[in-house]
Symmetry: C2
């Protein structure tokens, strides 16, 4: 890894013709790609995506006790998914008494949504 690689690998071809114009893409967004991929990975599970969907559509806090019966998974597993969403910065929680209330962090999906929505064809 971390080999000093030249960005124009045209080298020698059988007939010398290039396969396409060089892309030579700078790694401007290495770090950004990691952050975006982290959010995407957190959404890369059907249950977590549905969790975020429920929380978003509710536009407010939702008690965990209301989330548990929505999925055919055990309570520890649901807690695990909520933790992953929390670690990805997508949701946050607040404890009141016995119950924990979760909500979507405003703007958490913004960067990834913006990247996906960017119209690169125009």
């Amino acid at each position: 890894m971390s080999v000093d690689l030249e960005l124009t690998p045209k080298a020698k071809r059988p007939n010398g013709q290039p396969c396409c114009e060089p892309v030579v893409y700078p790694d401007v967004e290495r770090e950004q790609a990691i952050r975006l991929a982290d959010v995407a990975k957190a959404l890369g599970d059907p249950i977590r995506l549905q969790l975020v969907d429920v929380l978003r559509k509710h536009a407010g806090e939702v008690c965990v006790c209301e989330l548990v019966p929505l999925f055919d998974i055990s309570q520890p597993t649901l807690s695990h998914h909520l933790k992953r969403l929390r670690e990805a910065g997508i949701v946050a929680s607040e404890r009141r008494g016995l119950w924990a209330y979760y909500y979507v962090v405003p703007g958490a999906l913004g960067p990834l949504a913006a990247w996906m929505g960017d119209d690169h064809d125009a």
Copy 2:
């Protein structure tokens, strides 16, 4: 799994007060969530996300030989990532002679982008 669970788990609380209003969310989008999560999972790797980024910004086909030097991974690993993106329906390829050209399938990111961009606060 697949327990016949009642959707209103209010049961008996210590003082009988509910933690919040019932959500009772129908699984309208179980199947859709799986499809969206599949796309998100495919984007849940920095290299794959950068690959899609390069292909999208190029707005055309890009030869694999141009992609290899952009990342510090081996050629088989890159091929593996391209395969995963292909299986997720995000990219497609065309072989011409010795070389393989990849491009982003138009509209492949649309559903997920639409879901993320949906303004549930308004």
